[in-house]
């Protein structure tokens, strides 16, 4: 065999939905992939956790399936890690790099937790570390931010990067149903896992935010740096309040460069937010993902597609396999981590946000003045205030002599807004703070 045509050996760690899709495509599309890379790709093994299961769904020679992942990574030029979680994924990735293999991974949790260790190992061994599939599934988003926008300056990234939460919020909006009921429906339809905590509490979106912010701002941001609120506190009333503002509620991963007197910082956070129905992100329905990027020269860009699922994730993994395989053929490596900017990650209190606050108040003279004074004390400027009589309540509680006050603020430090809400809750004139939500994208 001509050495130019000696195959590039690919090892797969993980035989689940994504691993299976990657294996099948490597086999069924072998000729086209070889033409694109310049040399054939040979699947040399698939490491799985448990022996003895029927693996016929992988559609590959059963002899390729092994439980000895340590042995497998020593026999490959490219190691594809789609196991997920911290261990054994981390040790196997590091072992692969030590053996000189480039690594393609979809492991957002590991990258967001311990990316610098992996980047350093890739540098030390002169190999590639690619991970397009870790954020927003099939949507090309990391390569555009890291490479296409490498000559521009990213100002902000707003992403809907978790399909489960988007499905739940979208369904609550279209049906008017409550949170728990909608989560159960999402589970029944396969849009939410049996234990949906990582999705619903925003851990998944926070890991993705850390990865996006690191690339966008050339700064190391880990999961622990990301402020996180999930959607479990979002009520049907919040959704209704958003509708009255001609908004929808989305769980957003927000990465912002924040100019400051002593130099810029970055704010990285995940929380539900109201966005106007006219905003491009508002039309992202069901379990789709989208990422909205604002850059100094490019202006506003949006990337939209399927954020999860075996085939879409496999598409991103295979794109990375072809890229790192091309580097094996042509020489060179892809662009690595650039963390030169090293901007400080700001605490949530310093983030500049806007709040929408609905209050159930006594309908009597002077109440609005008192409420307004609380905002003023915190130097929070009010943009609009609307007062309406509360007509009836589903829970049958007394509403006579009460009014609803809906306040939308201008931008202010989140700490000032949070303090304002705390003080309002304690005012005797305020019967209840019925809805508090940040507002984005106006």
């Amino acid at each position: 065999m001509d050495s130019e045509q000696s195959p590039i050996r690919v090892a797969l760690l993980g035989g689940g939905t994504v691993g299976g899709a990657v294996a099948r495509k490597l086999t069924s599309n072998a000729d086209a992939l070889a033409a694109r890379v310049g040399r054939p790709l040979e699947l040399v093994g698939i490491a799985v956790r448990r022996a003895g299961r029927d693996r016929s769904d992988l559609g590959v020679d059963p002899a390729l399936v092994t439980t000895d992942a340590e042995d497998l990574v020593a026999r490959a030029d490219i190691v594809v890690e789609v196991i997920g979680g911290f261990e054994p994924a981390r040790s196997l990735i590091l072992a692969a790099m030590e053996h000189g293999a480039s690594v393609v991974t979809a492991n957002k949790a590991l990258l967001a937790e311990d990316g610098p260790t992996l980047y350093a190992a890739a540098d030390a061994h002169g190999v590639d570390l690619y991970y397009e599939a870790s954020v927003a599934g099939a949507i090309p988003i990391l390569r555009p931010i890291h490479e296409s926008l490498a000559g521009d300056d990213v100002r902000s990234v707003l992403g809907i990067v978790n399909g489960t939460t988007n499905f739940v919020l979208d369904a609550m909006d279209s049906t008017g149903a409550g949170y728990s009921e909608t989560v159960e429906r999402a589970q029944a339809l396969g849009y939410a896992e049996a234990d949906p905590t990582a999705d619903l509490e925003g851990f998944d979106a926070a890991a993705k935010a850390a990865i996006l912010a690191s690339l966008a701002f050339h700064t190391r941001v880990s999961s622990a740096d990301v402020y996180r609120e999930g959607i479990s506190e979002v009520s049907a009333g919040d959704i209704e309040a958003a509708r009255e503002m001609d908004c929808v509620v989305k769980l957003l991963s927000i990465c912002e460069r924040v100019p400051g007197e002593d130099g810029d910082g970055v704010s990285v956070r995940v929380h539900p937010a109201m966005i106007p129905r006219s905003h491009p992100l508002a039309s992202v329905r069901e379990a789709f993902n989208a990422v909205f990027v604002d850059a100094a020269a490019a202006g506003e860009l949006m990337f939209y597609g399927q954020g999860a699922g075996g085939d879409p994730t496999a598409s991103a993994v295979l794109g990375d396999i072809v890229a790192v395989a091309r580097h094996r053929v042509a020489g060179g490596r892809g662009p690595g981590e650039t963390a030169y900017a090293d901007l400080p990650v700001l605490p949530m209190g310093d983030a500049l946000t806007r709040y929408h606050v609905s209050l159930d108040v006594a309908d009597e003279p002077g109440v609005l003045a008192k409420v307004a004074a609380v905002f003023a004390e915190q130097h929070v400027s009010i943009e609009t205030v609307r007062q309406q009589i509360i007509e009836d309540r589903d829970d049958g509680r007394e509403t006579r002599g009460r009014a609803q006050l809906i306040v939308v603020t201008h931008v202010a430090p989140d700490s000032a807004l949070a303090a304002t809400v705390d003080t309002l809750s304690a005012l005797p004139e305020v019967a209840e703070v019925t809805s508090v939500m940040r507002v984005v994208g106006f």
Copy 2:
């Protein structure tokens, strides 16, 4: 000077809007660019056509401006061509490559006309040829198709890639105004050039379609291969007909892989089409661009942003400059042309399309049967037909005893649909074919 830190020399050909924006950003953002590349980028000259003009708007040392482009390309590691047109752009690009420089260009017309010559020269001299800015301005679309989707199979690309025509069609839709009047307004607002032929007649969109199809299908497609219809025949009546179908009219660049018994072919075409208002491309307003990609594993993806303008185009150019500069630093080259698939480009008659046809017919028994027979003769299957009384006409012509017949077909070869329309026009029962337009995206 440490040789690792010796700057990478960048030469700019063209000092217009894009060239000026690139020059300013290279200067103002020098430190960040150096950190991202690993070595400084030094602007060594800007070649302009005419000496003596005031170039202070370029914001660079006037000594850098030269009219001797041949000399300049011999002194650079990276040559950025933003002159446009065929000559002298082509000769200068080839000369730059001969001198060992990598080339970044935004020249869609040249690439679509003579790409293979440029690719071959880049290969022969072992340099990079990058051109992200040639299609859809700031939107990262070529790198995603060529690299992110390199492990997937693109089935189709639908693009709104010409801002002028989108502005005109969007304005006709929102105002109800006619074509000529709207073009004049677009010119007055700076959205259309003094001679807008290349935009309005679809030449610009066709060049971009050729570039998109070449990358998507690993096949050489040139401008001459692209079927092209501009928007100058689109009337206020067509826009109104679209609205009645809950559609909008867009000028689309369409690249499709068409399965065939003797192997696949590709259809590459530019024409106005009705698309449903619910389609993501329908919400692309004013002069924005968007590209919708359908791939076998990834599914549907959309990329959205600004398609033109100095800063947005400069963003794409600078991203390419950083990429090819990184290759200078790290070794290697980016992935070149892959034309291995070499699929035949099908004639327009073989494209599978759907038509919307409005007919002004005699309101008498048997007319519908005659019309339906014409479709049947061509083996064109009708999806819906709607008949309505013509109430009045703006031009005051007689409408009594006449009806409007609106037919939407199923997919059929374009040649059969065109022949159907020809035959219908000649039927004595058909007073006028009032609107014919292809339908996409249902």
